[in-house]
Subunit: 350 residues, 2 copies
């Protein structure tokens, strides 16, 4: 398998290193071959190529079987004009590669529960998956701009085509079937036309998938329930902007942002895998970053893009065991007896 | 002062009763005169007038100095077509009365901290105010509808005029000045044009109000921080849809939805005051509802619409004392030694 590796900015390089080392171990243990091909994205690409997403990076990804991405962004590029911001690289690559399904699992690790801002009884056993539509909605709708004599009007457009909703909803049903067979569709059908179409599509799919328990929830109610009773969720499916907000909200439930992986996929199994955390410029290059979210992202790649379930579980098990043994990176609580550097943490997992 | 009272559906009537009793006590104690005039809204209005917001209700409100609203909605009206849903009454009255500023304070009551899903150290001393734009944005933008041969495209429009942003931002600065002088403006400026205009307006206002500390935060980051460190906020200002989501998220911080008041105002001080909780059809008519959110909403009315600061504080103090004395309604924890009915709770506050 050929894997495009885009380390990006800040701690991206350090954590990407972790994923590669773990994947090499998997390869030799299970008899696979992984080839890594490197590309630039984000600030790194702006500095050397003048654009956050160079064509050669897109081509590299298209010629690979999956993509690993570290992180993008940093204060250095914060003052750039909108088209030249590192985030444009992210939005661009999603659109260019057709990655319409963003998967964000949130799982409570028993040994880390005390890091959560939520009470133990609220967070224990949380195991949910947010499926966010990633290439449509208000992120890409036109018109989007300013008008009026003095540019006094600003407009954005939330637009969805039925087929865009159908394919993400279908994905969500598939994941619900692989998990606990419960699907919560989140919308704002009491206000938005796009949400009313969303609800129609979900209802049609529900009729065709009677083995899955389906509920509709308004986005404001979902934002509440993610805090008051996150255990109540199995799979959540929602449109792009709601998914952006809810998945970041959900990422705080466990209190360990450094543990959360993500996948952005299309229908054929091709996907881009990246940690939920950012580029953390304050600790970049200091051998302090937590590589586990990136490592768990590579486990998602093994499972979803390569169909290597056993291999993925081996990686996940290694991470759990390392935590259970008391090893921690700085971000997971510095009063632990075994605080490891990035490199040492990678070694433990390997 | 003439106060329009719209009890609405479910527990609305019971809690509105509480606000009126408390206001009568305030009137006699401080030598004021309050006249209550009753109107219908929501399901109650649909049943008797065929519309969730009859003209006579709008007129009644326009002829009054402020409005108290109980709650609207219930399963009885859930299957109605969109235009005939109780919520349309809410959206309609906001627009008709020009109530562009929604205020949602979230305050942790020491005696109720254990009800929070968050850890004590996270929730203790939380005291924030969300200022939500209420009559613009994607809630009202046109076009909003379906198109295409088979209605396969759905569109909603997020539109803001500069002056709509200016007036809500100005309100937010005023409140920040009355509080801890810190303002967080929430947007999604890395994606939305309307957010970029929003940010421009906030920056201009910040330059004119150097006594207020201003920060910008992306909506996804704000959704995270509300959980991980809600104490970091003083005043939050944001557009309609983000405000809907974030204020409901914030309402879970304290774990006592039955305690949260809200105000929806315009520039001249006129406002509509309602509890954050819904109509709770399951306990309606059972003398079990918590009237404190409605009572605290009437305290906001005294302060913001009538300029009666001392009177408002007397009401707030009464509520705190009743809680400190151990009195609770069912929703605040049934293992308390002093569980009171709605009526008895009202009496305690009076
Ligand atoms: C950087 C930004 C444009 C992006 C988004 O909003 O999609 C990010 O928040 C994310 O969730 O990956
Ligand atoms: C009922 C609904 C239309 C309304 C809104 O979204 O504004 C409600 O959620 C609120 O926040 O008052």
């Amino acid at each position: 398998k050929r894997i495009a590796v885009l380390p990006g900015d800040g701690i991206g390089t350090e954590v990407a290193e972790g994923a590669m080392k773990v994947l090499e171990t998997v390869a030799s243990r299970f008899g696979h071959q992984f080839e890594f091909a490197f590309g630039k994205i984000g600030g790194q690409a702006i500095d050397s190529k003048g654009t956050p997403l160079p064509d050669e990076t897109i081509n590299l990804c298209k010629e690979s079987d999956a993509v690993l991405l570290g992180a993008v962004g940093g204060p250095k590029w914060d003052k750039m004009p909108p088209e030249l911001r590192p985030e444009k690289g992210l939005l661009g690559i999603r659109k260019e590669l057709g990655l319409f399904a963003n998967l964000r699992p949130v799982t409570a690790f028993d040994s880390l529960i005390s890091s959560s801002p939520l009470k133990k009884e609220v967070v224990q056993d949380v195991d949910l998956l947010i499926v966010r539509e990633l290439t449509g909605g208000i992120y890409f709708g036109k018109p989007s701009g300013r008008k009026g004599e003095n540019r006094e009007t600003a407009v954005d457009t939330l637009q969805y085509e039925r087929h865009e909703i159908e394919r993400i909803v279908e994905k969500a049903f598939t994941f619900a079937r692989m998990r606990n067979k419960k699907l919560t569709s989140v919308d704002k059908a009491n206000v938005l036309e796009s949400s009313r179409m969303w609800r129609e599509v979900v209802d049609e799919a529900a009729a065709k998938n009677p083995d899955i328990e389906v509920e509709h929830m308004l986005v404001d109610a979902a934002a509440m329930k993610l805090i008051s009773n996150p255990k109540a969720f199995d799979v959540i499916v929602t449109e792009n902007m709601f998914g952006d907000i809810l998945s970041d909200e959900a990422s705080m439930i466990t209190g360990s942002l450094g543990m959360l992986p993500s996948a952005s996929m299309r229908s054929d199994g091709y996907g881009l895998y990246e940690p939920v955390h950012g580029s953390a410029p304050d600790i970049a290059g200091k051998n302090m970053a937590n590589p586990l979210a990136m490592i768990l992202s590579s486990a998602m790649m093994l499972k979803y893009s390569f169909g290597m379930k056993e291999e993925a579980e081996a990686v996940e098990k290694a991470v759990t065991e390392v935590l259970d043994a008391g090893y921690r990176t700085m971000d997971l609580g510095s009063n632990s007896s075994c605080t490891l550097s990035t490199e040492k943490m990678i070694k433990q997992v390997v």
